[in-house]
Every structure is written in C-alpha cells, then in structure tokens.
C-alpha cells in the first residue's frame, strides 16, 4: 500500500520550525524577550492538502509542538486546526497564492495565534499587570517582524524538502496532492 508522504513531510517541517523556535527562545531567555513563529506552519497544509490529510498533518505537528508547553493537551493542535478552518471558510478558492500572499497569510495567522495564547495566559494566570502587556507587545512586534523572513525561508524549505522526497512542490489543487 502506497503511503502518502506529502502530509508527513509537511508535518515534519512544522515540527522542525517549532523546535528551532524553541532553540532561539532558549538563547533569548536572558534578554527578556521571546518570539513566536507558529503562523507559517498551517499555510502549505491548508493550500495543498484535503481535509483529511490536513487534519492529520496539523494534529501531528500540533500535538508534537504541544507536548512541552504548559497549555492544556491539544491546545496548539486546536489552534492550528481553527486557523486552518478559518482560512478555508473565508478563502475556499485559494488554489494558487503567490509567495507574497502566502507570507501575508502566515503573518496574519501568527498574529491571531499570538492573541489566542495571550488570551489563554490572561485567563490561566490572571495576568493583567502593565509589565505583562508591555512584554506581550514587544514579543508580538518582534514575532511579527521575524515571521516575514522566516516564512519566506520556511516555504522555500518546505518546497526543497518536498522535491528531495520525490514529491512535486508546485502549487496544485488539493485533490492532486494525494
């Protein structure tokens, strides 16, 4: 039986991006800032996978990214899937997006995810101090600034990995991705 590798490759790329982000945050810990780069993770799966494999891809990458976080189990996965569903709901005809549009979408998703995590922190920790919002504003600005070049690199990286895995990386309809 032929195993579909497309969604696995995209999920592995997502996990790699989340791990690299964690490594960068480890280095930034002494500076009192951090970055959050989850937005680009959902763009290619949404554009190239049908609902079933999209769910599998985002569930795998979401649960893997979720494991070291103090959020409830499945939180990142739910956020990923919610983001994907929102994109699909409002842009059902997005077969072909230019790279700049993909980056813009990643930028929007990243901001949305950041807001969701901040909302969770406020509810969970009761964080309402001025220092919390100052830090959130700086981290948000830094993340949104960095996500632009990172998205550009990440989409090229995904394309390269797909080619290396013997899969076509050109934009295509979701049905053909299988």
């Amino acid at each position: 039986m032929k195993i579909n590798r497309y969604w696995l490759v995209l999920a592995a790329a997502n996990i790699l991006l989340l791990m690299l982000t964690a490594m960068v945050n480890d280095g930034l810990a002494g500076w009192g800032v951090s970055i959050f780069l989850a937005g680009p993770c959902i763009i290619w799966p949404v554009l190239r996978l049908g609902p079933g494999y999209l769910l599998l891809c985002l569930a795998l990458s979401g649960l893997a990214g979720d494991a070291p976080l103090p959020t409830p189990p499945g939180f990142l996965m739910t956020v990923f899937i919610a983001g994907a569903c929102l994109i699909l709901a409002y842009r059902p005809e997005m077969g072909r997006l230019r790279r700049s549009q993909q980056i813009g979408l990643a930028w929007l998703c990243n901001g949305l995810f950041f807001a969701v995590f901040t909302g969770w922190a406020i509810l969970h920790n009761g964080s309402l101090s001025a220092a919390f919002f100052e830090r959130a504003a700086v981290d948000f600005g830094l993340s949104q600034l960095i996500v632009l070049p990172v998205s550009l690199w990440f989409f090229d990286f995904q394309e390269s990995v797909l080619v290396l895995a013997g899969l076509t990386a050109t934009p295509q309809r979701t049905e053909e991705a299988f």
Binding site: M1, M19, A22, M23, N25, D26, A29, G30, W31, G32, V33, S34, F36, G50, P51, G52, Y53, L55, L63, A64, D66, A67, P68, L69, P70, P72, P73, G74, M77, T78, I81, A82, A84, C85, L86, L88, A89, Y90, P92, E93, F117, T118, W120, A121, N125, G126, S127, S129, A130, A131, F132, E134, R135, A136, V138, D139, R173, T174, E175, F178
Partner: protein
C-alpha cells in the same frame, strides 16, 4: 475498488468538487468541521488527552537530551580553545573558591553541631532534610505566557513534582512535571510560583512571595505580600527575602531576592514590595533539585540528659516547625 475510490466515497480525505456545493455551504463547512472537531477533542477523556501528551513528550525526550549533550560538547570544545594562560587563571580562581568553600563548610559543620545539640536539649522535632540532585538545563522557556526550564533528570533520578530547585544564587523554582528522564521547572518569576518567605536574615518577618511578570529587556522579578506594617526598608540598604521552612519544599533561609522598598498593599493592612531576583536565573546551565531525605534519616534522637522532668511538659517550638 481501489482504496482511493473508497476514500473518495466517504468524502472525507478529499475536497468535494465546488460544483457540488453552493459557495455559502462551502464557506460554513470548515467552520462546522472545526466545531465538531473541538467538541470531539474536548469530550475525549482527560486521561486519553494526557496520554497523548505524555506519548509525544516521551517521543521527543531523546531529541531534547541529544540536543543538550551536543551543547555540552560545544561548551567543551569552546573551553578547549581557550589559551593555557586563561585556563591557569581560571584554575587559580577555582582553587580560591574551593578554599573559601572549605572554610565555610567547617563553619557550617560547627554551627550544625551546635544547632543539633540545642535542638536535642529542647526536644524539637526534626526538620525535613534534603539532598541535592544536580541536573543540566536543557532549555529555558521564558515567554510572555510562561516561565519554565527543562532539566535533564527525571523520575529515574527520584525527582517528583513539587520539589524545590536551587542554584548558587538562591531559589530557581519548583518542579512542575516529571517525565522519565526530563523534568519541567516552574521558575520563581512565574506568577504560578508562590511560597512562604521571610524578610531579612533574622527570619522575624514572615511574608508571602509570588513571582510576577517582568517587562521586556528586564531581569526577573517577584513580589512579597503580607508584610507587617512595622517593617521598613532603609533607603540604600536592600533587604534580602529568604525562604521559610513553612513552604515545605525548601529549607529555611535560601535567598529569593532583594527588595528596595515597601509600599502599602491593596488591603491597607499589610505592605507589598517588588523583589528583584538574581539576573542569572535567566542564564542557568546547571541547577540542583532538593530531594527530601527519607523520614528515618532525619529523625532526631533526644539526648538522655535533656529529657523533660514531666511527661506532659510542653516544649517550646521553634518558629515555623511543625509539631
């Protein structure tokens, strides 16, 4: 019939042709799918959800450990690149520190003996003892939303949730989660970290310490609450905040941080103050976990000469000790 056709029939793994569905229906379909997914996921028993998280943690743990060991190797080669003069100077400094530590150990042993003798005379109950379990820091995770460390020791080394974690500069935090060979430490600057504390080295002034968020590009901070009104901090002389034995997870007198001033609390009855924690808290490479000794190892045997004359005599209690 091929697998692909069967799957196409169930119409789950494949996108339905736009011609078959109206644009309005196709817009709401993803949202409906999301609602169903969220409902199903949150209806799954908590045990199953926790199991999935634990499985992924265990799966990722070897990668984390390998990354940490690679960092150790990197540090090793970085040190090897230092000149011999640097190494000789570092060795000399280390020797001085070792000598000073030896002296302090001798003083500590003398004080410990005195303490033990007095405690025996007063028949005080034994305080919990701890031994240190040293662990390397794998990853520091200090974001807007949480402040934690991942360390390279876990259940196999006897670590349990709730145990205190310290370093040379004082308290680091408390263990929150434990895997087989990894543990997550809630840092002392996390708002979820809260313990009983004392102001000053004489342990007269009790307070409650809680971590708090710090602004960007600033060091870690916390907050003390419940400080009595008669306590004051002289300008220019910061007061040390130390742990209290009431916290249970830490021995008495470990440094948490310093406060420069106290102000009135929200209730007007007590004072509060901002605690500056050690800036090194954000740059730790190695920590020590306080693993409680077995109860039998800390039981004090009363000295025969100090036995009370009457069995019903009520011995005085040391402040903070449990009867």
């Amino acid at each position: 019939m091929t697998v692909k056709r069967r799957l196409a029939r169930c119409n789950f793994f494949f996108v339905e042709s736009p011609a078959l569905a109206s644009p309005r229906a196709s817009r709401f379909r993803p949202l409906l799918a999301l609602a169903i997914f969220v409902a199903v996921w949150w209806l799954v028993p908590v045990a199953v959800r926790n199991f999935s998280r634990a499985s992924f943690s265990l799966f990722e743990a070897p990668g984390e450990v390998a990354y940490s060991r690679l960092k150790d190797i990197q540090d090793y080669w970085e040190i090897r690149d230092h000149s011999q003069v640097d190494l000789i100077e570092a060795g000399r400094d280390a020797q001085r520190h070792a000598n000073a530590a030896d002296l302090q150990l001798q003083q500590a042993a003398t004080l410990e003996d005195d303490n033990q003798r007095l405690a025996d005379l007063l028949q005080l109950p034994a305080e919990p003892g701890f031994h240190y379990e040293y662990a390397r820091v794998i990853r520091r995770d200090e974001t807007t939303w949480w402040q934690q460390l991942v360390i390279r020791k876990g259940r196999l080394a006897g670590l349990e949730p709730g145990q205190g974690v310290v370093f040379a500069g004082g308290v680091v935090g408390r263990i929150k989660e434990v895997d087989l060979d990894l543990a997550v430490v809630e840092l002392a600057n996390s708002p979820l970290f809260r313990i009983a504390a004392n102001l000053g080295d004489d342990l007269k002034y009790p307070a409650i310490y809680q971590g708090s968020e710090s602004g960007p590009f600033q060091g870690p901070v916390g907050e003390v609450r419940g400080v009595q009104q008669d306590v004051s901090v002289p300008p220019g002389t910061p007061v040390t905040v130390v742990t209290s034995s009431l916290s249970g997870d830490f021995p008495q007198g470990l440094k948490l941080g310093t406060i420069d001033r106290l102000g009135p609390g929200a209730d007007g009855l007590f004072q509060t103050g901002v605690v500056k924690l050690n800036p090194e808290l954000a740059n730790l490479h190695e920590v020590a976990v306080l693993v409680p000794d077995e109860p039998s190892a800390t039981v004090r045997q009363p000295a025969p000469a100090a036995a009370p004359s009457h069995p019903s005599a009520n011995p005085p209690r040391r402040p903070g000790s449990n009867p």
